[in-house]
Symmetry: C2
Subunit: 364 residues, 2 copies
C-alpha cells in the first residue's frame, strides 16, 4: 500500500517514519534533489504542476496527501482526479489566501481579528483606518513562517507597504494584544470521526515557531472545548480528512483564529513522544480509513525548533528526556533544521532539561 | 553520517527508523531483494562473504553493525578491518556456537544449565548421562527461533538425534524446570558507560518468542541487579559496544543463562513505545560514541509477535494503547511478520487490550 505525498520536507519525512511501522510505503513528489525525504523513500523529482509527472506519481497510490500548503491548487485538483487526495482540495484553497481564510472563519462563526483586503497601493491607508493601529500587513498568498508580513504602528509606516511586500494583494489585520498563542490539532477520519489533541502553547521568534508547550499550561477545560468546537466547524464544513491545525490568539478567555494549516503542523511535533499516537500516524490513519489513535498526552512536553544552526548533538542527547529530530537539511540562516522534544512526567525535571537545551542552542 | 548494517531484516528496519531522527543515513548489505529495509534505505544486494561488495559497502561508513548474528565471522572480521564494527567480532563469535557460548558464560561465573558437547552419533547417549533427562539437544551453530532443537525424555528418543539434526556438532543441555524465562537488554557505549533496561518476561510458542511483558511482573530488585551483574560481566569481558540481550531461565530466585544475542533483540521491541529511549536508538548511540539514553520504562508494555499471518489491521489499530509494527514481509507460516506493543499506565486497561489483541490474532 503506497501513500503519495506532495512535498518532501521534514513533515513528509516524519509522515514516512510514522507510516513504515503500519506497513505502508511512500512516494514523494518534490522539485528539490536535496529533500529530507530523499534518503528514505521513493522520489519523483519534478515541479508540482507537471501533469505527466503527477500521473506517474499517482500510479498505484492507495491515497495521496500533501505536506506543504502552497502546492498549486490546480495540481492538487488534477491529482485528485486520479487518486483519493486528503485533506480535500477545498481546504488547501481556503488556507492559501489569508483573506479567504479569514472570511471562511467568519462564515463559520469563528472570531478573528478585524481585517481588510487591499488590492492597490492607495487602499492601504483606508484599510488601516478600519482595523486601527498597530496592524499587521500581510501578503494574501504564499506567506509562511512570518515571511511576507509587515508591522505598522502609524500611517507613515504604511506608505511603502505595497512596494515592500512585492505589489501583491494584501490583507491588513488588527494587531491583537493577545495573552498567548495556542493551537489546536484536530483529526477527522473518512468515516467522520474526529479527535483533538490537547491545546498547545506556542512561542515565536522572528515570525517562526520557536517553542511549543503541550498540553498548554494553565489551560481550562472550557478553552479546550472552545477550540475543539471551532475546529469541528472547520472539519465539518470542508468534509475534512486528515490532521488540521488552527492557530489562535488567546485573549480574556476568548480565541481569535489567526490561521489554519490543512496538514500536519510544527506545533504538533511533540506528539511523536508526548502523545499516545502521533499527529503523523493519525494523519495517515485518517486518510486510509483506519481507526484514529488516542490523542491523549503522556506527561508533559516542550518542543523547541532548531533554526539556522544546530547545537552539539552529544550535548542535546545528554539532556534527560530529550529526543532529537534532525531533518538532514543543509544549515542556512532562518531554516528549520530539526527540533528537540523534551518529555517528562515531572514538570520540574522538564524545566531543568529545557534550561539545559536552551543554553546549548544559544551557544551553538 | 552513514551507518552500515549487515542484514536487512526487521531489526535493521527498526534501526533505520530510530536512526533517521538522529540525522543518520543507512546502508544495508543483504542477499535478498525482498528485505524489509529495501523500501527505506540504500541496499547493497550480495552474499555476506563477497569481499569486493563488503569494500563497496564499507566505503564512507561512520560505523558498521549487524542485525543478524549468523553473519559469517570472516566477513565481519574483513569488514572490521575497513570500518569500526560494533558489537565486536568476538561477541559474534561467542554467540554463534552454543557450546562456546555456554563455556563463555561459565568462565565469567554466570550459571547455566548443565551441558555437554557431542561430536559424533555415538556420543549422544553418554552426553545425556551427564545432563540427565529430559534434555534438549541443539545444533551448536546456526540455530534461531527454536530451529535445530530436539527435546528428549529417554535414551530411546536420542538414537536418531544425530541424523535428525543434520549430522552437525551438537550440544546436549539439561532441560530446566524453570518458573519463567526473562531477558535483560544491556547497552554499553564506546566510553564504557553501561545502561540496563528493566527485565522482560518472555513466553514462547513453537520455539519462537511469542509475547513479552515489560517490566517483567513481580520482579524483585535483587533479580534485576543479578541480571545486570551478569550482563555487565559479558559486556566488560568483550569490551562490548552496542545492545546485548541475554535470555535467562528463572528458578527459585536464580538466573541460568540460556543464550545471548549480540544485537538488538525481539524481547526489546517494547522499548520503542514503552521506554524513554528505544533499544534501537541506544544501539546507534553506543556505536557512534553518543551519550546513552534513559532506559526507564514508561508505564507497562506487552509485546506480541505476529507470526505467519496478520490480524486485521483496522481491528488492531482500534485497540486502546496498541501500536502496530509491520515488517513489510510476505506472509509465510512461522515467519515473524510484525509485532504489536500495547503500552499503558493502567495494568487493568493493559490486560483488557491484550485480551482483545489475542482474540484478533487467534481469529486471523
Amino acid at each position: 500500500m503506497i501513500v503519495g505525498v506532495l512535498g518532501g520536507g521534514q513533515l513528509g519525512r516524519m509522515l514516512a517514519l510514522a507510516g513504515y511501522p503500519l506497513g505502508l510505503r511512500f512516494r514523494f513528489l518534490e522539485p528539490s534533489d536535496q529533500a529530507p525525504t530523499g534518503v528514505l523513500a521513493e522520489q519523483i523529482r519534478c515541479p508540482y504542476d507537471d501533469h505527466a509527472a503527477l500521473e506517474r506519481f499517482a500510479d498505484g497510490l492507495a491515497v495521496a496527501t500533501y505536506e506543504f500548503e502552497n502546492v498549486p491548487v490546480d495540481a492538487a485538483r488534477f491529482l485528485a482526479s486520479h487518486v483519493p487526495l486528503y485533506p480535500p482540495v477545498e481546504a488547501l484553497e481556503a488556507s492559501q489566501d489569508r483573506f479567504f481564510e479569514k472570511d471562511f472563519f467568519r462564515r463559520l462563526g469563528i472570531p478573528t481579528p478585524r481585517y481588510c483586503p487591499v488590492g492597490a497601493s492607495d487602499d492601504v491607508v483606508p484599510a488601516l483606518a478600519e482595523t486601527g493601529y498597530p496592524a499587521v500587513i500581510k501578503t494574501r498568498r504564499m506567506g509562511y513562517d512570518g515571511k511576507g508580513q509587515l508591522l505598522v504602528r502609524e500611517p507613515a509606516n504604511a506608505a511603502h507597504a505595497w512596494k515592500v511586500l512585492g505589489e501583491h494583494p494584501l490583507l491588513v489585520e488588527e494587531m491583537i494584544a493577545f495573552e498567548r498563542e495556542v493551537s489546536v490539532l484536530a483529526v477527522r477520519g473518512r468515516d467522520g470521526h474526529t479527535a483533538f489533541y490537547p491545546l498547545v502553547e506556542n512561542h515565536h521568534r522572528g515570525g517562526m515557531l520557536w517553542l511549543s508547550r503541550a498540553p498548554a499550561p494553565a489551560c481550562s477545560e472550557s478553552l479546550q472545548r472552545l477550540a475543539e468546537d471551532y475546529a469541528q466547524r472547520v472539519l465539518d464544513a470542508l468534509n475534512y480528512v486528515g490532521v488540521l491545525a488552527i492557530e489562535f490568539f488567546e485573549r480574556q478567555g476568548q480565541l481569535l483564529a489567526n490561521e489554519m494549516a490543512p496538514r500536519v503542523h510544527n506545533s504538533g511535533h511533540w506528539t511523536i513522544e508526548g502523545a499516545q499516537t502521533s499527529q503523523f500516524e493519525n494523519h495517515l490513519r485518517a486518510g486510509l480509513a483506519l481507526p484514529l489513535g488516542d490523542t491523549a498526552a503522556i506527561g508533559r512536553s516542550v518542543m523547541v525548533n532548531l533554526i539556522g544552526t544546530l547545537p552539539d548533538r552529544r550535548a542535546v542527547l545528554g539532556i534527560p528526556g530529550a529526543h532529537l529530530h534532525l531533518y538532514d537539511k543543509a544549515a542556512r540562516p532562518g531554516r528549520k533544521l530539526g527540533h528537540v522534544t523534551i518529555r517528562s512526567d515531572d514538570p520540574m525535571a522538564l524545566d531543568r532539561s529545557l534550561k539545559q537545551l536552551l543554553s546549548w542552542i544559544e551557544s551553538a
